[in-house]
């Protein structure tokens, strides 16, 4: 009898756990199957394994390039895979197969993972560049672990670190006179979309679909000034031509589809950053409780979409640039923004005491204004992938820091972690090693001449 009970318990436990595991695999909590913690760049989408894995046949190499190829091309990748396809590199590839992303970026290995999700030892440059000191006497005695850590080189993106780039900017001032961030080319980018301005009483929402509050917010917005009516975003226009976005059936919450028609670049870029990558992958939207950075607990269950930062009807870009960020982010760097020199200038600009473009908001640095040429709406636009300028941090120098600061201060400030935590209150404690080395080299060349 006792045996029968044990057998029954064993069978029930086995059946129960099998059902639980099978249910999890077929759409439940798949994190149960993760072989180890996912990196900070991928944990948002870790419950949809098939984004990177082919069911039953392992990792898809094109899963990496599917999301990252465009940004690597834009970064003028210093080590693209095609560089290593030449058979003369065969011996090197036996040591490190640089043709494959996963050689250096192995997922689910938290114990091995360093900055930028790299799972190679910090001195991996040695594999191919072991004789660098012979070529460049300035590098004699330097440890290979410092190539990237010292802020001199990156494996992929060296746009702000190349010698010619730095050399031309050695004499730049710490702060440029009348420093101004680039202004968005709204007139140029939205030419052809603008219609006659609209105001209160001209809204075309169907009866009962709008509220006093939403109409008031819309009437004061840039959308109303540009002639964008309710049905342009929500659909349901009885007069719109077939195929026009406004001709879709009315929906109370149009989501990204309502924005995409005019702001396609912004929606696409949003889906490439940590804020929007879940939704772009077909998962439910990102929320602060899933983040690994410190967040405001009151914001835990907010869902991230266009309207979480821009509002549903007023589309106030000033609020989106600071208050929206600080409503969720509560890490040291974010908390130190209020009262920082950048914030002071932001307040001076908002109050009209300083000129347009003189202020620095959260978005100024994390969603820089970049000149777009790869689009049917070319011109200066706000980059809505807020992670693009952080991969690696030196990427920020050109679009973010240089409009206001010299390259020397920019590199030194970004390399100073404590200064970043204080949101740039004070000065960098060390000089930028790349600049120092270049100055020594140029001085030696001058002496030799």
């Amino acid at each position: 009898m006792r045996r029968a009970v044990i057998a029954a318990l064993w069978l029930s436990a086995t059946a129960g756990s099998s059902i639980y595991l099978a249910t999890s695999l077929r759409g439940g909590d798949r994190t149960l199957y993760l072989p180890g913690d996912t990196t900070s760049g991928h944990h948002q989408i870790e419950d949809k394994c098939e984004i990177c894995h082919e069911p039953g046949s392992g990792l898809r190499e094109e899963a990496c390039t599917g999301c990252h190829a465009e940004e690597l091309a834009a970064a003028d990748d210093s080590h693209p895979p095609q560089k290593f396809l030449d058979p003369r590199n065969a011996a090197l590839l036996h040591r490190i197969d640089a043709r494959r992303c996963v050689t250096c970026h192995v997922e689910h290995r938290p114990g091995l993972t360093g900055e930028m999700g790299v799972t190679q030892p910090a001195d991996f440059c040695r594999t191919c560049h072991q004789d660098i000191a012979e070529e460049r006497p300035s590098h004699r005695g330097l440890p290979f672990s410092g190539c990237q850590a010292a802020g001199c080189h990156n494996y992929h993106d060296n746009r702000a670190l190349r010698e010619t780039f730095l050399s031309e900017r050695l004499s730049e001032p710490t702060l440029r006179p009348r420093a101004t961030v680039p202004q968005v080319d709204r007139e140029v980018r939205y030419r052809g979309l603008r219609k006659a301005p609209l105001g209160r009483g001209q809204e075309d929402a169907p009866p009962g679909a709008s509220s006093e509050e939403s109409i008031a917010a819309w009437a004061a917005s840039s959308h109303a000034r540009a002639g964008v009516n309710c049905t342009d975003c929500h659909g349901g226009s009885p007069v719109a031509a077939a195929g026009d976005a406004a001709a879709r059936p009315w929906t109370d919450r149009p989501g990204q589809e309502g924005c995409r028609g005019c702001h396609g670049d912004e929606v696409r870029d949003f889906g490439r950053g940590k804020h929007g990558m879940r939704e772009a992958a077909g998962l439910d939207p990102m929320s602060p409780d899933r983040a690994r950075l410190a967040m405001n607990p009151a914001a835990d269950h907010r869902e991230l979409s266009c309207t979480s930062c821009h509002g549903a009807h007023d589309f106030d870009t000033r609020r989106a640039a600071v208050e929206a960020c600080l409503g969720c982010h509560a890490d040291r760097h974010s908390l130190a923004y209020i009262g920082s020199p950048h914030h002071e200038r932001w307040q001076l600009e908002q109050s009209g005491r300083f000129w347009a473009g003189s202020g620095v908001s959260c978005a100024t640095c994390h969603m820089p204004r970049v000149r777009r040429v790869d689009t049917d709406r070319p011109g200066v636009a706000v980059l809505h992938n807020q992670n693009d300028a952080l991969r690696p941090v030196e990427t920020m120098v050109r679009p973010v820091c240089l409009p206001c600061h010299g390259v020397e201060l920019s590199l030194a400030a970004l390399a100073d972690r404590a200064l970043v935590d204080r949101n740039f209150r004070g000065k960098p404690t060390a000089r930028a090693e790349a600049i120092e080395m270049l100055r020594r080299l140029e001085a030696a060349e001058e002496e030799a001449r």
Partner: protein, 206 residues
Amino acid sequence: MTRRSWWAAALLALACAGLAGCNRSEAAPREGELAWARRTADMVQAALAADRAVYAEDILQRLTMVQKIQVVDPESGEARPLEGREDWKSEHGKLPLPAQVLRMGAERVLMSESGLSYVLLSPWPINKQNRARTAEETRGLDRVVGSRKPHYGTEVLDGKTYFVAIYPDVAVSEACVTCHNQHRDSPRRDFKVDDVMGGLVIRFPL
């Protein structure tokens, strides 16, 4: 023949076939195959040399030195001369250098998996990754620099036999010489027009 003998004969045949298969990639190429390879490499070199000259003379030199085109920088609004620069991809209004165009083409050819590869190498490379790496490259570069004539050979890389042709890379214009003589990373700074600066290596499997 006994059953045991049949088994022994079958095993021997299998072993011979296996050995033949293993040695196939390292088998010495026939003279006819080498003659075909030489002709093929010569044709590839002619096409590459022509394309390179067209870019260097009819595009880069024409736009930058003859027409002296100015490009307006969108950030500062200043007009700046159009020029060839190593970091052309991350700068506005710049063009790639002829050697970079050749390398970009080589990378695209590699991605096509046609088997053909080509690269510019030199005993005095600006980028040290472009010095001879294999024994055949070292031997060939020495010869073309000295003789100014093509060098042909074969080599085995990763178990595969390749035909290798190396052609002298001659400084055809003052621009080539000036750039190499002034570049910070150039190990040789006394090049003159018509000097052999290195070699174009063309390689494909036999």
